[in-house]
């Protein structure tokens, strides 16, 4: 309370002066009144009162000083004193600052990354005015896209925005430029490669895929961004664009692909086969409304050139574009939302009856963001990941704080005497606590400053690494990790918090008034005061538990993700290459042509030396999972969401042999392709699911994929009945939860061969084949783009692998930091305890204790809290293991290597950290120890 009033007083010095004046004036006048009432003449009364009052100015000064300066002075004194104490114990200070800096650093890093990725404003002038525009349907579902005719209506009829823009992204094939040196070597590598992620090799003839963003012509005008060379699109360009198709290139791609060639403006490139002239270059790292930097920007009017018929801008039911807008001055979000919702209600009536767009909807306007905030808060995966990350970095900060607190406690035992003297000289407990907290806060702030430098340096390094290791087609990652006010405020906040967190317990502990014993220092000589020792044990235990928890988690995840690569997935991964054919739109491909080319590829590759067999079908762990509802005994499957489902995969007859999936029962599809269409092969777990314990051969199953996810033109079972002719071995599941090993293989019709990947089995190392494959591709069709990957590499892109590997990397880094911190903490506390007990040790040794006895004594006492911490940590890790089960690939969450191994290793390290200082105690000379102090 009082310091608030003092700050107030300091800031309102003039007002304060007049108030003091008024207060005293009042007193004076009352005294004068009194004297006048006692019969003194008025004038005399005034004089008498003044005389009596003495030097009023001096009094006023005195009062003012009391009000204003006491606080500032004591604070300054506290800080000066704290700084002196910290400087005096430089070793302790350095250790504490480092430990805290690590704890604060990981938090800052996560916050900076979070901010850079999620909270980054849209790229444009005055980003505060920019907003995202969504639709919300009655079922409370967010829709991000609008049709182009609707966009035009919103753009032209609203009064709340100074501009509305529409964008949509497309991967397009770039041709018509000289071939790119080195582009055929595998993409990626660097940091991501080192962590075990693989990216596909791209085999191209003359085409390469690039990321193009299609934007309304007013895009750059509304964002307020100019070209660094050439010019941007303008709304009035629309008609000229028909005659002279134009495109803009990003500075990043211009530098990377064309090495900053100045003659790029005016050059013609072919995107999806259509010719475009480059008219401008966008600024370095300019992302606009995207999450990364695209290669090209294409005007919306030219979308049909890129996307063919699907790119029409006249279809009101074709939701193509995400909308962003700039608020007109003085308009609030709710106002904009209200008007846009009115417009939406009107537009709804223009949609076809029974269409999606006809349903009632409202418009949501949210502050501008690259990511859809909607998805984030609704996606349980994201929520879980954020929870995990925040939990882990929070734990590290906790370890760091506990660490420094235990050091502080140990030290406060040494300062018991100082505190005792100060207390007995009349310092209030509050005063001492304040002094100690000032010291802690100062430590925290120092650590914050150190961590800030560390963090930015590391993050910058990391971002460069990540950006360099991503495939080119993903666009350039431009994440800004520059310091700013928010990050600074965050660091300042958590530094102070950390300072107070670790400072409070020791401060309260050591200021406990226990004057006489402190002065005599009995508590300090034989052992430590009980409460103090307990608190310190608690700190050590906390560190050990939190740290062990992190490390066991990391170990589980690492072993899980390793296991996912080594444990047999149920099929051959090393010798099989998957080839994914992509026929770029806009090159006039017809179904007949792509089908013919797919056959040609297959036949040519089949005849290559070193190729054992070729099949067509989705690889078991290659994404593109499709499910169909199942009906037994000839009955139609139920259409509701609870229907039993199997994962279906259309394959050519050689599929199982090529992948080395064994047949358990029955015979496979006839090799000559004459397989009856209505036959199916089940995986073992599918058979077990449908007919537990019975022979499935000859039974029939009805499959219906109509209500399940699939692409529009794709092949899917439409309620036909299939006869089971064989049962094949299981392949491993690739999604968390693992029910995608329940597979049913269906024969792939000859007229759909072009829609599925080619799987090529090599005699030896398939990597040797890749050059030959590349040649085949160029000979058949230079425009087709083929992604090529061994099935083993493909495993690294299954969701479970990615999640468990990323989590493992993160948990190891965090756990490693925690381990270092915990060791420093244990070492520090045991050292202090030993130093404090020098005299006791001396007496024991004088009485005949051996060095071994002393060592055992010290170790036994420090192993207590470590042991409790171990138990708590292991219990917590058992609970965490259950949560992580889906990521462990069948490994027991009680994996003995992780638990026993890490636990034992940890115990060893902890004991070593205790042993080193404990050994010092045995070198104590009894005579010196007895004379100590």
């Amino acid at each position: 309370m009082s310091w608030i009033s003092r700050i107030w007083a300091f800031r309102h010095r003039d007002q304060l002066a007049s108030e003091i004046d008024e207060e005293l004036q009042y007193h004076l006048s009352r005294m004068e009144e009194l004297k006048a009432r006692e019969g003194m003449p008025r004038e005399d009364a005034r004089m008498a009162a003044r005389r009596h009052f003495g030097n009023a100015t001096l009094l006023k000064e005195t009062i003012r000083e009391i009000d204003v300066f006491t606080f500032c002075e004591t604070v300054a004194r506290d800080i000066r004193f704290a700084a002196r104490m910290l400087a005096k114990h430089a070793g302790f200070t350095a250790m504490a600052v480092l430990a805290l800096a690590v704890g604060i650093g990981v938090n800052t890093a996560v916050f900076t990354a979070y901010k850079a990725v999620l909270l980054q404003p849209l790229d444009g002038k005055n980003p505060g005015q920019l907003v995202n525009v969504f639709r919300t349907t009655s079922e409370d579902r967010y829709q991000q896209t609008f049709s182009y005719p609707d966009y035009e209506a919103y753009r032209d009829q609203n009064h709340v925005f100074s501009g509305v823009i529409a964008t949509t992204g497309n991967e397009v094939a770039l041709t018509g430029v000289e071939s790119f040196v080195g582009s055929e070597s595998s993409l990626g590598g660097g940091a991501a490669g080192a962590f075990g992620f693989r990216f596909p090799t791209v085999l191209h003839g003359g085409a390469e895929f690039v990321m193009a963003i299609i934007v309304s012509e007013n895009y750059f005008q509304v964002l307020g961004t100019n070209a660094i060379r050439g010019r941007v699109f303008l709304p009035q360009d629309a008609h000229d664009l028909d005659a002279y198709p134009a495109v803009m290139i990003s500075e990043n791609y211009w530098q990377r692909r064309f090495h900053g060639d100045a003659s790029i403006l005016g050059r013609t490139v072919k995107l999806n086969g259509a010719a475009f002239t480059i008219i401008g270059i966008t600024p370095h790292d300019f992302m606009g409304t995207n999450i990364n930097v695209p290669e090209f920007w294409i005007p919306m009017r030219l979308r049909p050139l890129i996307s063919g018929g699907a790119g029409t801008l006249h279809d009101r039911e074709n939701n193509c574009c995400a909308l962003f807008a700039r608020l007109a001055p003085g308009i609030s979000l709710p106002e904009a939302q209200a008007e846009m919702s009115l417009l939406a209600d009107h537009l709804r009536t223009l949609h076809a009856p029974h269409s999606e767009g006809r349903k009632p909807l409202t418009i949501s306007i949210t502050p501008g963001s690259h990511l859809r905030p909607v998805n984030l808060s609704h996606d349980p995966g994201v929520v879980f990941a954020i929870f995990l990350i925040m939990g882990a970095v929070g734990l590290v900060l906790l370890i760091a704080c506990a660490n420094v607190a235990s050091l502080q406690l140990a030290r406060s035992a040494a300062r018991q005497r100082e505190m005792g003297v100060r207390l007995s000289l009349g310092a209030s407990r509050l005063r001492i606590v304040r002094q100690l907290l000032t010291e802690s806060a100062l430590l925290g702030l120092l650590a914050g400053a150190v961590s800030m430098l560390m963090t930015w340096w590391t993050l910058r390094l990391l971002m460069v690494q990540i950006a360099a290791s991503l495939p080119l087609e993903w666009g350039s990652l431009a994440v800004h990790v520059e310091p700013d006010l928010h990050v600074f405020a965050y660091v300042f906040g958590i530094s102070l918090l950390a300072g107070i967190l670790f400072g409070l317990a020791p401060a309260l502990e050591s200021s406990r008034p226990n004057l006489s014993s402190a002065l005599k220092e009995e508590g300090g000589r034989f052992g430590l005061p009980l409460g103090n020792a307990r608190l310190r044990d608690l700190m050590v235990g906390t560190q050990v538990a939190a740290c062990l928890f992190l490390i066991i988690g990391a170990s589980l995840l690492i072993r899980g993700s390793m296991r996912s690569l080594t444990v047999s997935p149920g099929y051959e991964t090393k010798r099989v290459v998957g080839l994914d054919l992509n026929f770029p739109a806009g090159f006039g491909y017809t179904h007949a042509k792509t089908l013919a080319e797919a056959r040609q590829f297959r036949d040519r590759i089949q005849s290559l030396p070193g190729v054992t067999s070729v099949a067509i079908g989705r690889p078991p762990n290659g994404g593109g999972l499709r499910t169909a509802a199942v009906g037994l005994n000839g009955s139609k499957p139920s259409t509701d969401k609870t229907a039993r489902t199997l994962y279906y995969n259309y394959v050519t007859p050689g599929y199982l042999e090529t992948l080395g999936i064994p047949l358990v029962l029955g015979r496979g599809f006839a090799a000559d392709g004459s397989a009856a269409e209505a036959t199916a092969i089940l995986s073992e777990s599918a058979a077990e699911e449908l007919w537990p314990g019975k022979d499935p051969i000859g039974r029939t199953v009805v499959l219906d994929g109509t209500n399940q996810f699939h692409q529009r033109a794709e092949l899917f079972p439409k309620g036909l009945s299939y006869q089971v002719i064989a049962v094949a071995g299981n392949t491993r599941a690739s999604v968390p939860g693992g029910d995608d090993s329940r597979k049913v293989y269906l024969p792939l019709r000859a007229d759909h061969l072009d829609e599925y990947p080619l799987l090529v089995r090599a005699e030896g190392d398939p990597k040797q084949l890749i050059n030959a494959l590349s040649k085949q591709v160029q000979q058949v069709d230079a425009n087709v783009v083929v992604y090529c990957e061994t099935l083993e590499d493909l495993l690294t892109s299954t969701p479970t692998f990615v999640v468990s590997r990323l989590a493992a990397i993160f948990a190891s880094i965090i756990g490693g930091l925690g381990l270092v911190l915990a060791c420093v903490g244990i070492y520090g506390t045991v050292s202090y305890a030993v130093v404090r007990r020098t005299r006791e040790v001396g007496i024991r040794m004088a009485l005949g204790a051996s060095k071994g006895d002393v060592l055992r004594l010290v170790l036994r006492e420090s192993s207590g809290p470590v042991g409790v911490g171990l138990v708590v940590g292991i219990l917590a890790a058992v609970a965490a293991g259950r949560v992580l089960r889906a990521l462990l690939f069948g490994m027991s969450p009680l994996d003995p290597v992780s638990f026993a191994g890490v636990g034992a290793l940890f115990l060893l390290i902890a004991m070593l950290a205790a042993y080193l200082p404990a050994r010092r105690a045995t070198h104590v000379d009894p005579m010196v120890a007895l004379r100590y102090e």
Binding site: E19, E22, Y26, H27, L59, T62
Partner: protein
């Protein structure tokens, strides 16, 4: 100061002020007046020590001040006891009683012996 009037013993000023304020909020003038009257005009509080003491006690959080209107309709600064001040008062009162009791003991024993 004047004859028959005692200067306030060092350290007892706070006790007197707190005790006075226990009866309700009061301004500085009122406090001097009340101490003067209740002590049968024995004790006199000097302005030069009263106001600094009031402000110091305010900073210590024992009393709080606010502007109010006095009985003669003028703006005056009123002080009132805070909970912390109440605790402090109890402590100082107990101290005082112990002290006076002790002094009393010494005086009575010394008297008996003479």
């Amino acid at each position: 100061m004047g004859k028959g009037k005692s200067d306030i013993l060092q350290g007892t000023l706070a006790l007197l002020v707190l005790k006075t304020l226990q009866q309700g909020p009061m301004h500085g003038w009122g406090i001097t007046l009340r101490i003067h009257e209740i002590s049968n005009e024995v004790l006199r509080v000097e302005e030069g020590s009263l106001y600094p003491a009031l402000h110091r006690m305010e900073q210590d959080g024992w009393i709080a001040a606010e502007w109010g209107v006095s009985e003669n309709n003028r703006r005056a600064r009123y002080y009132r006891l805070t909970p912390a001040g109440r605790k402090q008062l109890a402590k100082e009162e107990a101290n005082w009683h112990r002290l006076t009791h002790a002094v009393g003991l010494v005086l009575s024993v010394a008297g008996n012996q003479s």
